[in-house]
């Protein structure tokens, strides 16, 4: 199955101005719980999306059938929708102008694309052995995928194949304490199930009775996984060009202002060495590095064609769907530049009494314009005393503004890590945030959890 061929056939049936995006997913995911395999899913599917602009309105239709009749029917549905809208109003969509000379990125690994269930089974077995050696049980997923994506208009298009691999291990001890470790990469060979299980197990078995802290403000050392969550929430609340253009975004009216600590430099860098790279977005627009926060100053936001038209800007290559996702554009390759600390231990060294956070969970935006979010800590929350991690903490609820946390950032580790949650709703779309660990002062916690 050649996705570019399908995209070109679809675009021809949709006519002038239309764009077709074709995404084929071949994936395998193995789940495990209590050191036993539980569920496993193999998927082979394709999604053809056709977007037809008419007088500024975009009709869109999708199918997973790739024969000519089905593509023609799909194109007709998109066209009818655009024509129905055209009859009522002129829209503001300016039309697709994809970049035809984009070179595909090197983002595919043949071994990963084999989707070998035996390799997955061996990874699970390694994790179970390591967990057992530490007297804990392993829970998690191992997953690999190949995503072949192409876009086309009547004048041709482009194609790119990507692979991704992800494994997470949560080890749970008999006393209920848990620890987390995960890795994401282009190549499955870069994942080490045993090493992940060991890291998770060491957190789950760290000694001492859990301490409960009262609500209040604490100095926090966030591991990269937690920093990645915070930054991804900024993607929704601050860097979304549509919300920005409509005055709802957290950076609306604040471009050029200091909104974070001067050490904070955030960009969307789709070809960064450690990210899950991609060369074009869902509208065929070239993905290029976009500075978002520079030395703590609000610098820019992400756009697709639609939000750019509303803002009077140009697309930065962040469309999630041809014609624009209803929620707006979203950065998919966020990178937070590292600092000077050697590791998390050095970040802790300056803390007299604080909290060590491995990861955040169930984060939800409370008030988007304030970047106020709430989330709970999970799978490795510890007390820092006199510069060292000492005892497990009962998990806590964090309720604070992400930009405020970044404005109170005190130090960052030198090394960065690709963090991802391996969450794959709908057609698989692997993405992550490259970031260091971070220490921030006066982070607000509103209660205990767990």
């Amino acid at each position: 199955m050649n996705t570019l061929d399908i995209a070109e056939r679809a675009a021809k049936r949709a006519g002038p101005g239309a764009l077709a995006l074709v995404t084929r997913e071949r994936s395998l995911m193995l789940r495990f719980a209590a050191s036993r395999p539980t569920q496993s899913t193999g998927i082979d599917d394709v999604t053809v999306e056709i977007a037809v602009p008419k007088r500024g309105n975009v009709g869109r239709a999708s199918t997973n059938e790739v024969d000519d009749d089905s593509l023609a029917d799909c194109a007709a549905r998109a066209r009818f929708a655009a024509e129905a809208a055209e009859a009522t109003h002129d829209g503001s969509f300016p039309g697709f102008e994809p970049d035809r000379d984009v070179a595909p990125v090197e983002a595919s690994d043949p071994a990963t694309a084999e989707l070998d269930p035996a390799g997955g089974g061996a990874a699970l077995a390694d994790a179970f052995v390591e967990a057992d050696a530490h007297g804990v049980e392993a829970h998690g997923i191992w997953t690999v995928a190949e995503q072949d994506q192409a876009w086309a208009t009547e004048d041709g298009g482009a194609q790119e194949a990507r692979t991704d691999a992800f494994m997470k291990v949560i080890c749970i001890a008999s006393n209920g304490r848990s620890g987390y470790a995960s890795d994401a990469a282009v190549a499955v060979g870069q994942l080490s199930a045993g090493a992940l299980a060991e890291r998770a197990a060491l957190k789950a078995t760290r000694g001492g009775e859990p301490v409960e802290l009262p609500p209040g403000e604490y100095t926090v050392v966030f591991e990269p996984q937690a920093v990645g969550w915070l930054l991804d929430l900024l993607g929704e609340t601050a860097f979304n060009g549509l919300a920005h253009a409509e005055g709802r975004g957290a950076l609306a009216g604040r471009i050029g202002e200091l909104v974070a600590a001067p050490a904070i430099n955030v960009s969307d860098s789709p070809t960064s060495a450690r990210t899950l790279p991609r060369s074009f977005d869902a509208e065929g627009t070239r993905k290029a590095p976009v500075p978002l926060l520079q030395d703590g100053v609000a610098y820019g936001v992400a756009h697709d064609v639609r939000s750019a038209a509303v803002a009077g800007a140009v697309s930065t290559g962040h469309a999630l769907a041809p014609g624009g996702d209803p929620s707006g554009p979203h950065p998919t390759n966020l990178v937070l530049a590292g600092g000077g600390a050697t590791d998390e231990g050095e970040l802790c060294a300056a803390v007299e009494r604080g909290i060590y956070v491995t990861r955040l969970w169930y984060a939800n935006v409370v008030r988007p314009k304030e970047t106020l979010i709430t989330a709970v800590t999970r799978d490795g929350t510890f007390l820092i005393e006199d510069g060292e991690v000492t005892r497990p903490l009962r998990d806590l609820r964090l309720t604070d503004s992400v930009l405020s946390i970044l404005s109170r950032a005190q130090a960052l580790t030198r090394d960065q890590k690709l963090t991802s949650d391996g969450e794959f709703y709908g057609r698989r779309f692997a993405y992550g945030v490259v970031c260091p660990a971070m220490r921030a002062d006066a982070v607000r916690f509103t209660g205990a959890t767990g």
Binding site: G42, V46, A84, A85, I170, W361, V366, R367, G426, T446
Partner: protein, 479 residues
């Protein structure tokens, strides 16, 4: 397709202890307007076959698009290979027994939403959007329509062969007002996509979106100037969507048996509810009875058979505050010794395997009359109806929610509107503080359209029936 599935199951019978196959054809239409202009004009169709096998103790599932016989056979081979490649585990208990499902079922639809001309649907949305823009100071107006159709055929090695067709339809409106660093939103009839029912186009029209639009936008702007919800402890009345979400997050998810047994620890989480607590765990006050009922007309959790062929039926979850049952599958039910699955296995589409899900998890009505009666009986407190944000820990114990707006209750009547009304609690304490639930006449089904669970992720649409309920001594103003 029946023949294809039957042949597939025949091939699987000799090679797996159990196997089932589902054909699913899905159709969706989403339309919206934004600031007075058509915005989302989407339609989608997909079809394919998912094959699930149990070999030894391990499950394998593989899905392939389309209806090709050879591709379906390849999916079966893939499912078997996946199951066989996993670390060996002892044979698990047999699945809870279930008579093979046979027959056909479809929910009633007065007017097929997919046959209504696009222009007619857009006209309703544009009228509603125009109504939202009558209020100066509104930055963003949205009006939405959505319709879903799902055809399923299910077959299993135990002889099941059944077909179902569901049609769902609904919509909603929202207005966002911005001033300085504050933004406020009001929605009708619910946030997060509005209200959808298992029904036809008639349900979308019954929502009367244009008629509610001026009030919604007026409230969005008024919220910018409303006093903030003060921190403290007070009596809280929850109604509508917010009560439905409270049931969903703190009761529904907490009694999913896969979570209780630790199977979802790596993602959705576990539960504070022990597996052996039926009949002994006090979950709430004597006013709190909850039933999971897959037979509610119009509910998004309604069906004749779940996605492993178990007939849907009412399952008691809480009776007068005490745990009475779980949401379960054939595997999890057998594991704790239940006679029969609760019939709660649902899959998002052909390319996802069924997992334990909510049906319609309903708070049973009480005897407190209607909302006005409850307000009058309450005297002083706070009323929250529409949700803005939610978060709960992975054991479903500690939660924090915020509504779009709250109303003070003063002198037994609805008083001033307050902005940013958050509240927090601990599940059994919160439900233990419930001292009144309104009567059957005030009971209604609300819908939640984006319940995420499973890996790979599955989004499920569910409904919850409830009548307004009162909770004492709740911590508010926490965010």
């Amino acid at each position: 397709m029946r023949d294809l599935l039957a042949n597939l199951i025949d091939s699987a019978r000799a090679r797996a202890g159990y196997a089932d196959a589902r054909f699913v054809r899905s159709r969706v239409e989403r339309l919206s307007t934004r600031n007075g202009q058509p915005d989302q004009l989407d339609s989608g169709e997909s079809e394919g076959i998912g094959v699930r096998v149990r070999v030894g103790g391990a499950w394998g599932f593989a899905a392939v698009r389309g209806t090709d016989r050879g591709d379906a056979q390849a999916a079966l081979e893939r499912a078997l290979a996946i199951a066989e490649a996993q670390p060996a585990i002892p044979e698990l208990a047999a699945l809870a027994p279930e008579p093979p499902a046979h027959g056909e079922w479809a929910n009633p639809v007065a007017r097929d939403p997919f046959e209504v001309p696009l222009e007619e649907k857009l006209a309703v949305l544009l009228a509603a959007d125009a109504g939202l823009r009558t209020e100066p100071g509104v930055n963003l107006t949205l009006a939405r329509f959505s319709a879903f159709r799902t055809e399923k055929i299910f077959a299993s090695t135990e002889g099941a062969l059944c077909e179902q067709l569901t049609t769902e339809c609904g919509g909603g409106i929202a207005a966002v007002a911005v001033q300085g660093s504050d933004s406020q939103i009001r929605s009708y009839p619910a946030s997060h996509g509005g209200h959808v029912a298992q029904a036809g186009y008639e349900h979308f029209l019954e929502l009367e979106l244009p008629g509610h639009a001026p009030r919604v936008s007026s409230e969005a702007v008024a919220l910018l100037h409303a006093p903030a919800c003060p921190p403290g402890r007070t009596t809280l009345i929850l109604a509508g969507e917010q009560l439905g979400l409270q049931v969903h997050e703190s009761v529904g998810h907490a009694v999913e048996l896969d979570r209780v047994l630790g199977r979802e620890a790596s993602y959705a989480g576990t539960s504070f509810v022990p597996a052996d607590a039926i009949g002994s765990l006090r979950f709430g006050s004597e006013h709190v009875s909850v039933t999971a009922d897959a037979t509610n007309p119009g509910g998004l959790g309604s069906y004749r058979w779940d996605d492993e062929g178990v007939e849907g039926r009412p399952v008691p979850i809480l009776r007068e505050g005490v745990l009475a049952g779980f949401l379960s599958s054939r595997e999890t039910a057998a594991e704790i010794g239940l006679d029969r699955s609760g019939g709660c296995m649902r899959a998002e589409g052909f390319d996802r395997q069924p997992i334990v899900r909510m049906t319609n998890v309903n708070l049973e009505p009480g005897e407190a009359g209607d909302l006005d009666d409850l307000l009058a009986d309450t005297g002083e407190g706070l009323l929250i109806e529409t949700n803005r944000s939610w978060s709960i820990d992975n054991r479903r114990l500690h939660f924090q929610f915020e509504g779009e707006a709250a109303w003070e209750i003063r002198g037994g009547e609805r008083g001033r509107m307050l902005r940013n009304p958050s509240y927090a609690g601990v599940t059994p304490e919160f439900w233990g503080s419930c001292d009144a639930v309104c009567s059957e006449g005030a009971w209604q089904l609300i819908s939640l359209l984006d319940c995420g669970k499973g890996e790979p992720g599955q989004v499920m649409r569910v409904s919850h029936g409830a009548a307004p309920a009162r909770f004492r001594n709740v911590e508010v103003g926490v965010a």
